[in-house]
């Protein structure tokens, strides 16, 4: 087997790596000794790469049960003197923030990096939060690379910086950075890596009781003041352009590239001075002072929140500068930036004209939108979640129609959670009523149980249940919340690309381990109604859901079946042919329930006839269930 470029021991070799791979490679070149993470787009490939590198270069890696535990695992590594990293998607930092908030008070030992893969533009997240705010609160310097090459260089140096500064360091990545591949020049990886540290008992350092924490806080403030003084000499911050230019632009992270290229298109690159920031906190105040002294106007360019803008404005005020300093006046707070956005913002700021023919682009965009509908992300053909959502909606319909009910019901409320099954939101299922954050399906259902009269059925995936579903389940038992909880166990963390979790019996590196049984946890939490169903048997699921709804206390239904995509992968490997669904024209009444209510993407309408797209159908057989096709017109061949 040839060694993938990511893992090559070939210093100086030029290869193409994905941004997330480049970060992983940089950490390992910088002496990483331990890594922990919870998967989440757009961060997942960092840890996947670290797992491969850890197997070759011998250091410990784990998929943790959630971001908080990942943070605690890496913090322990630092306490033991090891260089550690934990990676997560932007919203994961909400979960990891508590241990980091405490640990940052302490004088760390091994260098420690927290990678936050933020998501301006909300490609795959539910908030556009700017995690630099966490960094401010935690006195953590923030590295923000502008491209994959710089990310690689920053990752390589991050542990040295963390140890020199005695501060955990945040590396803020983004979808664009992590999911862009670029040419990288490989660095050296040391093969002699100590992977066991030592814990030195020192309660005044590692126990943050108030009497220690007061001293720790003073120490943390002093340390951060010292770090600030070093910013002007750091290689990731620099001033460029004509020193006589009267217009200044301060760029952070990825906006450097957008700014450079937009200025080039505007043909104004010689009349603007750029202060390129590789760290957005703390700031290089000598460089800023130079820019403020030389320029007459300054524009701060940063995605999402005006953090640097506020720092620069308040610094200018303190130092008596009166020049105008702008940022969000010319550039948006929401969405991700691009060359197009910079062209508009810079043209306005510099009093020039956006040279791009926007009318033409608007016209073409309008023509195209009229021609092609969006290709909505929907549940895959054969996805078990479709069977469960369809069953839930069937139960709801029956309940609304049921005239024998004492109280007239008009809905079942269906909170859901984070995972593939969130796609149950899409038509025609419409089976996701609320969606907040990991574990909130059960938490919110607890509240609804005491706030509204409607029945409640919530859905949560297996990995999400382990991550944050157990405390709210205990709460439901404790506070007698009358809710039905569907745990959708597809035996993997599917949404992020099939990472193992505690219920799979496999660790990050593929080692087998104890399989933590969901039903045993549920039972131990005190739940008295526990059923396991096969989601492909929709008629049975309907029956079980109906009896769960009648149960006066929390009821749990575990719907269990392997993710269809994983199963297909295995079948293809074994060379097994896939069955297909087939329509019997004589039996089909064209009622369209399979299309407009069940909604499998392999079913479509052609000249009024229901057809099966055999390239998409993988023969799961759910559409043959009597609850989907009561005319028995579909069969599996």
């Amino acid at each position: 087997m040839s060694v993938p470029d990511l893992e090559l021991d070939a210093p100086g070799k030029k290869v193409i790596l994905l941004g997330n791979e480049a970060l992983a490679r940089g950490f390992v070149e910088g002496g990483l000794q331990l890594a922990a993470a919870y998967p989440g787009t757009p961060s997942t490939e960092i840890m996947e790469s670290l797992i491969h590198l850890g197997q070759r270069y011998k250091f410990y890696t784990e998929w943790s049960v959630n971001e908080k535990v990942a943070a605690e695992v890496s913090i322990a590594g630092s306490m033991a003197g090891l260089r550690t990293v934990c990676t997560m998607k932007g919203v994961g930092v909400n979960v990891a923030s508590e241990p980091f908030q405490a640990f940052t008070y302490m004088d760390l030992r091994g260098g420690i990096a927290l990678v936050t893969a933020d998501d301006p533009g909300l490609h795959s997240s539910h908030t556009e939060q700017d995690n630099r705010y966490y960094a401010l609160q935690m006195y953590m310097p923030v590295l923000e690379p502008y491209d994959a090459q710089e990310g690689h260089a920053m990752a390589r140096q991050i542990f040295d910086l963390s140890e020199t500064w005695c501060r955990p360091v945040m590396l803020r990545s983004s979808t664009r950075l992590g999911h862009t591949s670029a040419n990288i020049s490989l660095g050296k990886i040391s093969k002699t890596r100590k992977n066991l540290g030592d814990f030195q008992r020192d309660p005044s350092r590692w126990v943050n009781l108030p009497m220690n924490a007061r001293k720790m806080r003073k120490n943390m403030i002093t340390r951060m003041d010292k770090v600030t003084k070093e910013m002007d000499d750091l290689e990731f911050n620099w001033l460029e352009g004509d020193p006589d230019a009267l217009e200044g632009v301060i760029t952070t992270g990825i906006t450097y590239g957008y700014t450079k290229e937009a200025l080039e298109i505007l043909d104004l690159k010689d009349s603007v001075r750029i202060l390129k920031l590789g760290l957005s906190y703390p700031l290089p105040y000598k460089l800023i002072e130079e820019l403020l002294t030389d320029c007459e106007r300054v524009l701060v360019v940063e995605e999402v929140e005006p953090i640097v803008e506020r720092f620069v404005t308040s610094f200018a005020q303190q130092r008596g500068f009166t020049l105008p300093i702008h940022g969000k006046k010319y550039l948006p707070r929401d969405g991700e930036y691009s060359i197009d956005i910079m062209l508009a913002g810079l043209a306005k700021f510099l009093g020039s004209k956006d040279p791009v023919d926007r009318k033409r682009i608007e016209n073409v965009t309008a023509q195209v939108q009229a021609l092609v509908p969006p290709r909505l992300p929907i549940l895959c053909p054969g996805c078990m979640h479709r069977g469960i959502f369809y069953a839930m909606k069937k139960v709801e319909k029956k309940l609304i129609k049921d005239k024998d009910q004492k109280k007239k019901l008009h809905q079942i409320v269906m909170p859901s959670d984070i995972g593939c099954y969130t796609l149950g939101y899409q038509p025609p299922l419409h089976a996701v009523d609320t969606h907040l954050c990991m574990g909130a399906s059960i938490g919110v259902s607890n509240g609804f149980a005491h706030a509204i009269p409607d029945p409640i059925i919530c859905t949560i995936g297996d990995s999400t249940f382990f991550h944050a579903g157990i405390p709210p389940l205990i709460n439901a038992v404790f506070n007698t919340s009358n809710i039905t909880i569907m745990i959708l166990d597809n035996r993997t963390t599917a949404m992020t690309g099939y990472q193992p979790h505690p219920g799979t019996g496999v660790q990050a590196c593929g080692e087998t381990t104890k399989c933590v049984q969901i039903e045993e946890i549920v039972k131990a939490c005190g739940v008295e109604f526990i059923e396991v169903v096969d989601p492909y048997n929709i008629t049975n699921s309907i029956k079980i859901i109906e009896s769960a709804l009648k149960f006066p206390k929390p009821a749990v239904i575990i719907a269990r079946r392997s993710c269809r995509m994983l199963e297909l992968r295995d079948r293809l490997k074994r060379g097994e042919p896939l069955p297909n669904a087939e329509i019997d024209r004589e039996l089909c009444t064209k009622c369209k329930v399979c299309l407009t209510q069940f909604g499998c993407p392999a079913i479509y309408l052609d000249n009024g006839e229901i057809e099966i797209d055999t390239s998409l159908c993988n023969g799961c057989g759910m559409c043959t269930d009597i609850s989907v096709c009561k005319f028995k017109a579909i069969s599996i061949k």
Partner: protein
Amino acid sequence: MVEKIKSYQTILAGVGGQGIIYLNRVIGRASMDLGYKVYCLEEHGMARRGGSVASYLRFGRDIYTPVIPMGTGDLLIGFEIIETVRQVPFLQDDATIVLNPQIIQPFITKGEYPNKDKLLKYLKNSYKHERLVIVSAAEIAAELGSGIIMNMVLLGAASASGSLPIPKPKLISAIKNTSLPQYAKINLDAFERGFESVGSV
């Protein structure tokens, strides 16, 4: 020695599983071998769930970001018609489109499916004849025995179209250098068939 171009923008469009990421690796590798800086923006996450996939590859001597401005694309390699039309706003007027004229309908529960002929007509009306290269890449790939090598057929056609500023031998060596050994030959065959198909039009 060819003069180094400032920047060149390629867009690859299709749906999940059509081999877009590998095609990117080949073009990226070839441009890197020519001494260019390369950025290739990949759309992740929704690929396996039948969503649109678009990938933006830039190379040049003077680039700093992977995201291409609207209306500046030089070459659009389309694996599927709907997704190809969707990317047209990123193209400049004299861009080249290399298209596999296959339609994969999206899932819709109401309204009408897009019409293949209407979409082709739109492309034909918008782009000059010599800049719209239609290659039955899926069929050629199937003839060669594997649908997954459609990407190499399209690359061959893009190379023959004359738009892609990478010499053919560089593309061939990039295919050799990035293919798994057992697939190198079929990938190269597919590339040649794509190249020839344009010459014979």
